[in-house]
């Protein structure tokens, strides 16, 4: 006896189905079903996962389908018999989403009919009209969907002919007899054969509870409130042939028919052959030949003195592999996008494993020479992997949209779409919805009983809705809507496919990640100011730059500006580019957990010998002093010393990556271990390798990725070192990015000799600019950093545009003139007055504030003018009213008031750092500056006061907290053990100014204070808002 279940929904029928696709496939196979069709509502979201699960189950035939919601008609499930039919199904689904609100779909009946008539592949679709579940009838009522009336069967029969079946379910819901009678009558009347189904919502009976919870959630009510909109029993699970036979003893042919239909559906997602876009290939060329041609052209730029032999060998190897795997189009697609960006002067750079490829380097997609870096191509692409490479490209974040629009324009919306990301239930949201369904407090942070626990556990990981992947695009030579349905994203102007990046990988489809990187914007802006063309113009291996890096003077620099990185810089002291590569990779959870950091540093500092147990490991490990720091090194060891093929080595790398989630690396790990031992490596070394491998599982960087990032780290360091004004200007103009606030960036720039000018009504633009330094004691061509209006809180670009237009008519002559012509709101004017913006008119801040108030009163008289004056005062910093209540408006504000006002309004001050003022006005504060602290020896006890700018508590730090205090001379890093942190946590969290007592800890040039005690500078910092600091946990 055989049976195939042809109607089944996964949890990708959002908030309806209660099982993962994999669970349904596994269960169907375990039950011995002949076939299983996945027919989710309005999409093929779960098809790739189901397909992958079914691949290893040869006895289960997997069928692709979907349920289409129709307007003016009940829904219809459609099964794809062949590839063409699948394409039609995708088109139908795309159209059903096109004009519907996000998250909904419906296709007008007339359009459904006409599409079936026009699209040739529609003859391969099998139609199974469905009934609406009771919980969905409310929505059906809202959409005015009628029950399937007899006369509609006639229309359906005309449309589908002998591909139309009448699914009959027997759910023991008291309507089975009536349903059967009706079905038999329809069968007689219209000749539509009956087909047995259980219309499954979950894979096993125990999931009934979760399905009820999903229904209640969808209806936004509790389980009790859902009433009879819940199913009346738990019969909607996958049933075996035996169970179905017991339900349909009178209709054995209905069961047999399921197998017939299943056997007619031969389409498999494996047939989704993919053609990359290729219209730019000139005549006379194939994709491969054109790619090679472009690579050769690129070689002339990359290797002006001729292509080295090693590079040529590498290129030939890569050409061969690319040709074999037919991926030339993919590289050309990426090249086209990068070429467009370059033509527009948009800085871009490939990252990740793509930097392992010489082709990518010569095509200009990546910026790191993989041969010189001795990188491993198989980390990027291998025959064994069986999937396309994955190239991620970073673009300037402010101009990424131009690239996205170019892609849409070039390929069209039917050939380019963004990849979706499935937003799934996390623990908190699962607890909330489960609690709500059970009638418990949805705001509770945890579940209250075993039932809620179990439901929460089941619900975690369930999809809730689709979102856009941050930059993933899929592109196709053929209309993408015949490969996967496309639907509108929530973001205006964006469309997404119904699959995520994992699905694309599983099916071998192209994905391009168009990512945004703020530092590229900042670098480009810096280069523009300096007059340099691109990154290649930056001199390599500049000693001054490395000297600056070694001193950990890296505020604002890419990747190496965090406190942890700065700490490492003082110990590692990078001297070469590869040192930077290691620096970038080393401060990561991976190497820390893998216990690689200390051995490497000790060897680098000469504190222990560089021990490489086998000379065959020299080329692999010498550059990391015998400590494997990168996945690629393990891969190379596997190839060289454990008899792995490059493809197997890549599989080993993947197994390592999956180790964290699956907890096992048995097969590949055993093979590696055996191979290394077989080739004579000491067991102790092999054990160490495995410890370090575990670290890789904790997010190690690929070497190529570290190299790509190191390039940007070097470039930004060079810019900071040699052009600090331009660099700081660019950084502020590219916010938000990086680790530090504008205030810290400005302070750092000032320490590098950059003069910073405050916001000026007649000179400032929206962005910061470099202007001739007005001070006479500097060289004539010196430039100062003129702060832009963008730093003023509450001021927007439109307002600034109006301001600039006004002043272009004529500069502002006086404060009054500014007040009249600027048309800024009074709150902004008050802020600017207090923020010293009007001193250029010869008006001190207090006087400026009076004038603003007077102007406001004269232009907007109110009955409670007097009250509004004082209410206006109350809305300014509290020092304002106190001072204004003094007698003369000519009295100046105190300097500290000015300074703190700057911070409140601008987030920084050009008057200087607050610490010198505080030290002079508060005698009890320690007088030591950070510069002086840095001279203290190891173990010295110091007391130091500063502004907290960073608080961090990394998960790998086992409860230790790191913080950084800043003063006018620089930074001091703090280490707080868990007990110290717990004793001072409120102080650390709630105060920006702290006095620290601790012990100096030195390692190389790195210095930290091991904190013993914290004290506040102010009893209360209520009035000190907007002081810049970050807290990351």
């Amino acid at each position: 006896m055989a049976y195939a279940e042809l109607l089944c929904r996964t949890h990708y029928s959002f908030l309806e189905g209660a099982s993962h696709p994999e669970e349904l496939i596994q269960q169907a196979a375990a039950m011995g079903l002949r076939a299983l069709a996945i027919t989710d509502r309005d999409g093929v979201y779960g098809i790739p996962k189901a397909y992958v699960a079914a691949r290893s189950l040869p006895h289960l035939h997997f069928i692709t389908g979907a349920t289409l919601t129709l307007k003016e008609h009940p829904p219809i499930a459609l099964l794809a018999r062949d590839r063409a039919a699948y394409g039609v199904l995708c088109r139908l689904l795309t159209e059903s989403h096109r004009d519907a609100p996000k998250g909904e779909a419906f296709l007008p009946w007339s359009q459904f009919v006409s599409m079936l008539g026009e699209l040739p592949g529609s003859r391969g679709l099998v139609a199974l009209p469905r009934e609406e579940a009771p919980s969905l009838r409310k929505e059906a009522a809202l959409m005015r969907l009628p029950r399937l009336a007899p006369h509609d069967w006639g229309a359906l029969r005309d449309l589908f002919g002998d591909r139309l079946y009448l699914p009959l379910r027997r759910h023991l819901d008291g309507q089975d007899e009536a349903r059967t009678r009706s079905a038999i009558e329809l069968q007689k009347r219209f000749g539509v054969p009956i087909l047995a189904t259980n219309d499954a919502y979950y894979h096993e009976p125990s999931r009934r509870m979760l399905q009820d919870v999903l229904t209640a959630t969808r209806l936004n009510t509790s389980l009790a409130g859902a009433g009879r909109r819940l199913f009346s029993n738990g019969e909607r699970h996958l049933k075996s042939a035996l169970e179905m036979a017991a339900l349909f003893p009178d209709l054995p042919e209905a069961l047999a028919r399921t197998v017939e239909v299943a056997e007619s559906c031969t389409f498999s997602p494996a047939e989704l052959r993919y053609r990359y876009p290729s219209e730019w290939i000139p005549g006379g060329h194939t994709a491969q030949s054109w790619m090679e041609h472009l690579v050769r052209e690129g070689c002339r730029t990359r290797y002006p003195d001729g292509v080295p032999e090693a590079v040529e060998r590498q290129l030939q190897h890569e050409f061969q592999l690319v040709k074999e795997l037919q991926f030339a189009d993919y590289f050309l697609t990426i090249w086209e996008i990068v070429d467009f960006a370059r033509s527009r002067g948009i800085l871009c750079q490939g990252r990740g494993s793509a930097a392992n490829s010489a082709i990518c380097y010569c095509l200009g997609i990546t910026a790191v020479d993989p041969v010189r870096m001795n990188l491993l191509f198989e980390r990027f692409l291998s025959a064994e992997r069986g999937e396309p490479p994955d190239i991620d490209v970073d673009f300037e974040h402010e101009r990424r949209e131009e690239v996205i629009q170019h892609i849409y324009e070039r390929y069209g919306r039917d050939r380019a779409a963004m990849v979706s990301a499935v937003i799934t239930y996390r623990t908190r949201s699962a607890i909330r919805d489960v609690n709500r369904a059970l009638g418990l407090d949805p705001g509770a942070a945890e579940t209250k009983n075993w039932l809620a626990d179990r439901l929460t556990e089941d619900l975690r990981g369930f999809p809730r809705h689709l979102s856009i992947h941050s930059g993933g695009f899929t592109l196709s030579a053929d209309p993408i809507v015949e490969i996967v349905p496309v639907e509108p994203a929530r973001m205006e102007g964006r469309t997404i496919i119904q699959w995520d990046k994992n699905d694309l990988d599983a099916l071998g489809l192209l994905k391009v990640d168009i990512l945004a990187l703020g530092m590229l914007t900042a670098i480009r802006k810096s280069l523009d100011q300096i007059g340099m063309k691109d990154l290649a113009a930056i001199p390599a291996e500049d000693p001054a730059t490395y000297a600056m890096i070694q001193k950990a003077d890296t505020v604002g620099v890419f990747q190496i500006e965090s406190r942890a990185q700065m700490n490492m810089l003082g110990r590692l002291k990078p001297r070469t580019f590869y040192d930077l590569v290691i620096e970038v990779a080393l401060v990561r959870p991976g190497p820390i957990v893998g216990k690689m950091v200390h051995p490497y540093l000790k060897r680098r500092q000469g504190l222990e010998p560089v021990d490489i147990p086998d000379p065959r490991l020299d080329p692999i490990l010498a550059r990391t002093l015998g400590v494997p720091l990168f996945q690629e090194q393990v891969m190379k060891m596997a190839i060289v010393l454990a008899d792995f093929t490059p493809g197997e080595a890549d599989q080993l790398r993947r197994a390592i990556g999956a180790w964290r989630s699956t907890g096992s690396i048995e097969e590949m790990g055993m093979k590696l271990r055996e191979g290394l031992l077989r080739n004579g490596l000491p067991e102790k070394f092999v054990d160490l390798i495995f410890t370090q491998i575990q670290g890789f599982a904790e997010y190690g960087f690929p070497e190529s990725h570290a190299a790509s990032f190191a390039l940007l780290a070097y470039a930004s360091s060079w810019l900071k070192c040699h052009h600090p004004a331009e660099f700081t200007c660019a950084l502020i103009n590219s916010q938000p990015l990086g680790f530090y606030s504008n205030s810290t960036l400005v302070e750092d720039a000032r320490r590098h000799g950059v003069r910073v000018l405050p916001v000026h009504p007649n000179h400032s633009a929206w962005d910061c600019q470099l202007v001739p330094d007005p001070h006479t004691e500097v060289p004539r061509d010196a430039r100062a950093l003129q702060l832009g209006w963008r730093i003023v809180r509450g001021l927007g670009p439109a307002q600034v545009r109006a301001l600039v237009e006004e002043r272009e008519r004529a500069p502002f002559r006086s404060l009054h003139d500014f007040l009249v012509r600027s048309r800024l709101g009074r709150e902004l004017l008050f802020q600017l007055a207090l923020g010293n913006a009007f001193t250029c008119f010869g008006v001190e801040p207090r006087q400026a504030l009076w004038e603003c108030l007077a102007f406001d009163l004269s232009t907007r008289p109110e009955p409670t003018g007097q009250l509004s004056l004082f209410s206006a005062l109350d809305s300014t910093p509290d020092t304002g009213p106190a001072l204004l209540r003094a007698s003369e408006p000519e009295v100046r504000f105190r300097e500290d008031v000015d300074l703190f006002a700057d911070y409140r309004i601008f987030g920084l001050s050009t008057r200087g750092h607050p610490m010198p003022l505080l030290r002079s006005s508060l005698p009890r504060l320690p007088k030591l500056s950070s510069a002086e602290v840095r001279t203290r020896p190891n173990g010295a006890e110091v007391r130091f006061a500063g502004l907290v700018i960073v608080r961090q508590r990394p998960p790998t730090a086992k409860g230790t907290t790191f913080a950084t205090l800043e003063d006018e001379a620089g930074f001091v890093d703090l280490i707080l053990w868990k007990s110290v942190h717990e004793a001072h946590e409120p102080l650390l969290q709630n105060h920006s100014f702290l006095v620290v007592t601790g012990t100096v800890q030195r390692e190389g040039d790195s210095l930290s204070l091991l904190v013993r005690k914290l004290e506040p500078v102010f009893a209360s910092e209520e009035n000190l808002q907007n002081l810049p600091s970050h807290s990351w946990h």
Binding site: L172, D173, G174, R208, M209, A224, G227, R228, N233, P249
Partner: protein, 486 residues
Amino acid sequence: MKKDESKNRITLCLLFRNRIRLAELAEASFRFTPKIALREDEALFLDYQGEPAQVLLRIRALCRRFGTDPVLAWGEEAGLALARARFGQKLSREELPVQALDCFLNPFERDEESDRTLGRTLALLQQLGILDFAQLFALPQRTLLSRFGKSGADAVLRARVGVPSTWPLFQAPDRTLERAPLCQPDTLDGVSDLESILQAAHALLDRLGARLRGRAARAARLSLTLELDQKSSSGRPLQRAWNFGLPVPQGSASGILPLIREKLSAELQRQPLVRPAVRLQIEILETAPGHGAQRDFFHRAELEAEAWDALTGRLCQKLGAPGAFVAEPQDRHLPERAWRAVLRKAAPDAPHAIRSPAIQDSAATPQAAAPVAPVRRPARVLKRPVPVQLHQRQLKLVQDNRTACEWQIREIHGPERLSGEWWDPNTAFQRDYYQVRTESGEELWVFAQTGRSGPGDVAPTPASPLSPEGSLMPLQRQLYLHGYFD
């Protein structure tokens, strides 16, 4: 009369030849429109939108209840409606005689001063040979003021262009009571027999019902007072009075009268009237919200609802409050909880609503109406399912060790598998229900528990009742009788 008048908003006028107490009739007329005005005891105006022909029929039927037969007319504004009621319902504006002018000046109120002034105007018009509005409207407008003075000119203007007047607010009487004299048809003496009293009560209840209906209310408590033909020592007439609390609010005489009959019959038997009764008074002391369809005088649903109320009211009175109730469907699969007993839908602020602790008042715990169940359910459901035994094709109900009932099974349909409420251990259930048809023609609702109540427990798929072998419920499971299909 212009045809398009019927499509616009119109004013209906009921002109009474004999002065009557219009307030009660006006109150009853609220069922047609909220905008009502009186002209003392002479005329009643209703602002109405719709087909006048339909509403006039209903108004006439209502008036008959109040023993009156007014002249009915309508117009675009109150003045025109009153003028037509007085001088001819079918007259057009121009055809009205000039005597109709006073209708337009202030249709809602008599004003003696205006009347005098208008009287002079009318005399003048007659002298001028102007007899109707057509001739009046032909006069040059600029001469009206000088000729007829302000009142006259105003009246002409209003008559000509149909200026609507301000409607005075009509307030319903504070008390909802009706009185009627009781007398023998031949002697005019008072009455002592119950039937005469009830006959008079019927008429009063009809009027009271009409008035309540106007306010979309029903009577929940009332008093009946008989005034006797003898005075007490203080000089006041002797009275007998009774209060009636209605277990189910009633909106018509047919629902209330039987209750009055029953009570008075017993009371007067116990203590007959010492003197004949000469006056009857019935007052509604407490009301409850009425039915939704109550505004429509002849609506079938309203009649049905009133009949239903009358029936349930009588049952409640007979059986006591817990004995009779309305089963309100609930939105649950569990049969025992798929309904709840509701006594009556009392108004939230009704101070004297009868409440039984065993029966929930739907106002206290309102719940959305449950959707209609698509599956057939028994007409009678046992409060508690009772165990039954199955032996071959016989089903037996055994109580106290003896067979209380037994049925021979003819056929079985099912099962309907019901399970749910797994989140509440007190109500979690898992049952297979069967419809058992017996040789004696009864149809029983029987269920078998299917394993434990855990929702993850897999109940065996039962043999299909449609199998050619016929079906019997599995013997190894305990069966319960839960209801009867009638």
